[in-house]
């Protein structure tokens, strides 16, 4: 039975005279890994920002895990992002002076989890991503692939309902990218986290359960609509 975790309906968003989104409907099932593709300037980032509650659409609704994000003010949306959404980006997301375990524990500490408990959970997530022996290292002493797996552990440590991964392997070579992507998807499929995988790369998108393509502020042709 369908169990949508994201239901976006009739999304419109403009910046001045530029229409970035022109009526997007999108449903994402719980536990699904969805690739969001599209050329630069297509409205892809605006769509993602609306779905993650970073931006409020001019028209339309976004319901995530039963919460209508479009009915919340900016502070309430920020709280939802902290507790219900994880983010992984292409570059520069780890704090360089903190060890891997401290980087991973940070979102828990920000959400008022006790330090001892936060550290235990951070170690568990590093272990899940094959980084148990890297816990005491700072990001500058790790490979790009290891640092990216730390960033993934940090994004998942709060057990988010949805993980937004924006070009998560875009700065890595092909072999490291495959290793990181496989590690991330093994873990999220194991725990049932929904993933929005934003990518230009078709080989990365091929790891998803399906893809949508954003073009000119709309979902392109056959890809639009509800999950199959």
């Amino acid at each position: 039975m369908p169990d949508p975790i994201i239901a976006a309906t009739g999304l419109h968003k403009s910046f001045g005279s530029t229409e970035a989104l022109r009526g997007v409907d999108l449903t994402v099932e719980r536990g699904e890994v969805l690739a969001v593709m599209g050329p630069s300037g297509s409205g892809k980032s605006t769509l993602i920002h609306c779905l993650a509650g970073v931006l409020a659409p001019d028209e339309g609704t976004v319901v995530m895990d039963g919460i209508d994000l479009t009915a919340l003010n900016a502070d309430a949306r920020a709280r939802v992002r902290l507790t219900r959404i994880g983010f992984v980006f292409q570059f520069g997301q780890l704090l360089p002076d903190l060890t891997a375990v401290d980087n991973v524990a940070l979102p828990l500490l920000m959400a008022s989890t006790a330090r001892r408990r936060a550290n235990v959970q951070a170690h568990e997530w590093l272990d899940r991503l094959g980084l148990a022996d890297q816990a005491a290292k700072v990001p500058g002493t790790m490979s790009g692939g290891q640092a990216q797996r730390v960033a993934i552990a940090r994004a998942l440590v709060t057990s988010p309902a949805v993980l937004f991964a924006d070009e998560p392997t875009g700065s890595l070579d092909s072999v490291s990218a495959e290793n990181v992507l496989t590690a991330m998807l093994d873990v999220v499929r194991d725990v049932g986290t929904t993933v929005m995988l934003i990518t230009h790369d078709a080989r990365t998108a091929a790891y998803a359960d399906r893809e949508v393509i954003v073009r000119d502020g709309r979902l392109s042709g056959a890809h639009a609509g509800v999950a199959l």
């Binding site: 496989t182 078709a202 790891y207 042709g221």
Partner: protein, 176 residues
């Protein structure tokens, strides 16, 4: 891939019976399509005729056949020439998709939809190959990677063409 040269290479790696050669070929190159025994023996016959291999006489092996084959000096030279020769890229401008796109524009058909359909099919194929790759042995994974990179190149061409359809329409209208 030139299958007769692949077989010559396998014989060049060490004398072998036809039966063993078939299994060696299938395990290394037969991911997409195995080679039938009949084809193995007819290819071996042609290689003997061309002086690229020779028989070593009758000796028992794993299969029912008795003949062992080994590469000749001529065969090794032929093989090395092939190995060292760069492959000529296939002429991409002659693909069906290129022709379909141009004709769709000339006929005022929906070229964008045509490219979308092709993109969906290729992404679906990539997803299937990526799933197949997950638990495949290394040689098979590398063969799948080769296919994935080629499909990715086709997808890039589709994206580029899709972004240029308006200009392309003017170009083909001028020539029409």
């Amino acid at each position: 891939m030139d299958r007769s040269l692949a077989l010559l290479g396998l014989v060049g790696a060490g004398p072998t019976h036809g039966y063993d050669l078939k299994h060696r070929y299938d395990s290394v190159f037969g991911t997409a399509r195995v080679m039938a025994f009949g084809q193995i023996y007819s290819t071996l016959g042609r290689m003997i005729r061309d002086g690229h291999i020779e028989t070593l006489g009758q000796e028992p092996g794993a299969g029912p056949d008795r003949k062992r084959y080994q590469i000749t000096a001529t065969g090794r030279e032929h093989l090395q020439r092939w190995l060292r020769e760069p492959d000529v890229p296939s002429p991409q401008m002659q693909t069906n998709l290129f022709a379909k796109t141009v004709l769709a524009l000339m006929l005022d058909d929906d070229a964008d939809a045509l490219l979308d359909t092709q993109r969906t099919a290729l992404l679906g194929r990539m997803r299937q190959l990526t799933t197949d790759k997950a638990n495949a042995p290394l040689l098979e994974r590398l063969a799948i990677d080769h296919a994935l990179f080629h499909i990715e190149a086709d997808l890039r061409w589709i994206d580029m063409t899709s972004a240029r359809l308006t200009d392309m329409k003017n170009e083909v209208s001028f020539h029409a």
